[in-house]
């Protein structure tokens, strides 16, 4: 990591103690180019600074991490930070365009390595996110039929992530390379984002929203 230029980050959180803490935790490979105290400020900051990575708290004023993911997900990888895994809002934010989420209790080293990979476009998948995504695709399948759903291999990969296996371990179990596993998770996330957009569009058409 050392030689490569630092990742430029926008951090959005309405808890000041957290904002100042995360700067310290990110270390020298990351530069915080802007901070924001709510979703609106975060979206503005992303437009202005065009960062390599956005860190957004799930629960913030003005629309929370979900809004940041929705409006900035295509400009930069958005990682949602949350204190608890057991929230459906997490899935909504990820489906809206975030690249994954991290628990705020994630230790410094794990946090830095996950964010470094996120900045390169790798999804940040935790077991609980994998379980939520599995459920979401089952729900979608019932709504829209098998089109746009997951392939058997993708479902298999998700189930392994949910069991707590690393990409390397999954690769060993499925006789594929860790890189291929990573590609699967990226495709899964892309499908999730697309399905959510489809859903919004269908909703708009059905309810005659221009």
């Amino acid at each position: 990591m050392g030689r490569v230029s630092a990742v430029r980050v926008v951090v959005a959180d309405d808890h000041p103690i957290w904002l100042s803490g995360i700067r310290v935790d990110l270390g020298e490979n990351f530069v915080v180019v802007a901070t924001a105290a709510d979703a609106r400020e975060a979206v503005e900051a992303v437009g202005q600074h065009q960062p390599d990575l956005v860190l957004a708290d799930l629960n913030m004023p003005e629309g929370g991490g979900r809004r940041v993911a929705e409006e900035c997900g295509e400009l930069a990888p958005v990682v949602i930070l949350t204190v608890s895994e057991a929230e459906r809002d997490v899935l909504d934010a990820v489906a809206a365009g975030a690249t994954g989420y991290l628990l705020k209790s994630t230790s410094g080293e794990e946090l830095r390595s996950a964010l470094w990979r996120a900045a390169k476009g790798e999804p940040v998948f935790s077991p609980s996110l994998a379980a939520m995504v599995l459920t979401e695709f089952r729900r979608l399948k019932q709504l829209t039929g098998p089109t746009g759903g997951l392939s058997d291999r993708e479902r298999e990969v998700l189930a392994q992530v949910a069991r707590g296996l690393s990409y390397r371990e999954i690769g060993e179990a499925l006789f594929i390379s860790p890189k291929t596993v990573e590609n699967h998770t990226r495709n899964i996330l892309d499908k999730l984002h697309l399905s959510r957009k489809d859903e919004l569009m269908r909703y708009a058409i059905e309810h005659d929203i221009e």
Binding site: H15, I17, W18, G21, V24, D25, N59, V83, S84, E85, A86, R88, K104, S105, S107, G108, S126, P127, S128, L129, A130, A131, M132, L134, T135, R138, R139, A159, A162, R163, G164, L165
Partner: protein, 358 residues
């Protein structure tokens, strides 16, 4: 009394008010139907005017002032008793329906709702006595007729049922209020205190302070979850089990639970949660794990649940699982409810326990 408890009382009051109106119409109809048996028609008409006015007043002007409500109740009860007595002097002995009909019951219902079973039964007793006097006047001598007996029984029944119903409604409302209060507390704790604790647990250089913050965070979380423990909900039960083991064994437990799990019969749910708890405890105690992941998902046919408990501990060689409890408490527990269990481990690479139940 919270705003919703007041709403429940208002609802019951409205129901009684409607009943009173219907009873008034019934009493009026009764006088018309029984007109041939009236010996004092003008007294009957005059006697019904007072309850008509009171019924309309009670229906239109609802009061939240308890003293005023009690006053009106006493007046209504007195009026009901008066009608039951007057019944004995306005009709001849051949009348089928009493003058006030069911109207006095409204006062008994109100008494039972306001003051519980005692007030209700007291009202029923007074009304029964008035009914006995009326019936005696009608027949010219004290008489314990079937009319008196069945009417007294109905009054008492109304009191008991109304008091019990009001009690149950208020109790349900209290429980709802407790759940809401806990949720509200949960939100406050979640948005504020847990955030701060998480920040301390990560930022502080002081090991003791970090441990304290992490422990407090876990305890708060399990407190928030505890309110749901008696709920027949598999994800909640798994969450409670995970946070309990995490707290007791100081191990990091991550949960990955699909949120469309099918509902399981209670004994299967208990077996599954019991097996998972056992697997978690084993992983922490004998496996010396740092992190355990619990994954719960639907079985492929979506009718059952499969659960995996995977740790990063020391593992074992497959022939001698540490902790003899595994065989007994996991495998047998699952097979007793028609489920299955499978344990897989490699030395140095952790252990995974998988359980299924239909």
């Amino acid at each position: 009394m919270g705003p919703d408890a007041a709403a429940i009382d208002r609802g019951m009051e409205r129901a009684i008010s409607s009943f009173r109106l219907v009873a008034l119409v019934g009493a009026g109809t009764g006088v018309v139907v029984e007109r041939d048996h009236l010996v004092r028609p003008w007294l009957a008409a005059a006697a019904l005017a007072a309850p008509a006015l009171l019924t309309i007043h009670l229906h239109l002007a609802r009061s939240d002032d308890r003293a005023r409500v009690t006053e009106l109740l006493v007046f209504e009860a007195a009026l009901g008793c008066a009608l039951l007595v007057i019944d004995g002097v306005v009709y001849d002995e051949l009348r089928q329906q009493s003058l006030p009909w069911a109207w006095p019951s409204a006062a008994i219902l109100t008494a039972a709702v306001l003051g519980g079973i005692r007030w209700g039964l007291a009202g029923a007793a007074v009304a029964s006595a008035a009914g006995l006097i009326g019936e005696s006047l009608l027949h010219g001598s004290p008489q314990w007729t079937t009319t008196v007996a069945s009417r007294s029984a109905l009054f008492a029944l109304a009191a008991v049922v109304a008091a019990a119903a009001a009690d149950r409604l208020r109790q349900a409302e209290d429980e709802m209020a407790a759940v809401r209060a806990r949720e509200e507390a949960g939100r406050v704790v979640h948005d504020g205190i847990l955030q701060t604790l998480a920040a301390i647990a990560r930022r502080s250089d002081d090991d003791a302070l970090r441990t304290l913050a992490a422990d407090t965070e876990r305890e708060l979380r399990s407190y928030l979850v505890a309110g749901h423990q008696d709920v027949d909900d598999l994800p909640m039960a798994l969450r409670a089990a995970a946070s309990e083991v995490a707290r007791r064994e100081a191990v990091d437990v991550r949960l990955a639970v699909a949120d469309d799990l099918p509902e399981l019969p209670p004994e299967r749910r208990r077996a599954l949660v019991g097996a998972v708890t056992e697997a978690l405890t084993n992983a922490a105690k004998h496996g010396r794990a740092n992190r355990i992941v619990v994954f719960a998902d639907c079985t492929p046919d979506e009718a059952g649940v499969t659960c995996s408990v995977r740790d990063d501990g020391v593992g074992f060689d497959g022939t001698s699982p540490p902790g003899r409890g595994i065989e007994r408490s996991i495998v047998r527990r699952m097979s007793e409810v028609g489920g299955r269990a499978e344990i897989e481990s490699t030395p140095g690479r952790g252990t995974e326990v998988r359980v299924w139940v239909g």
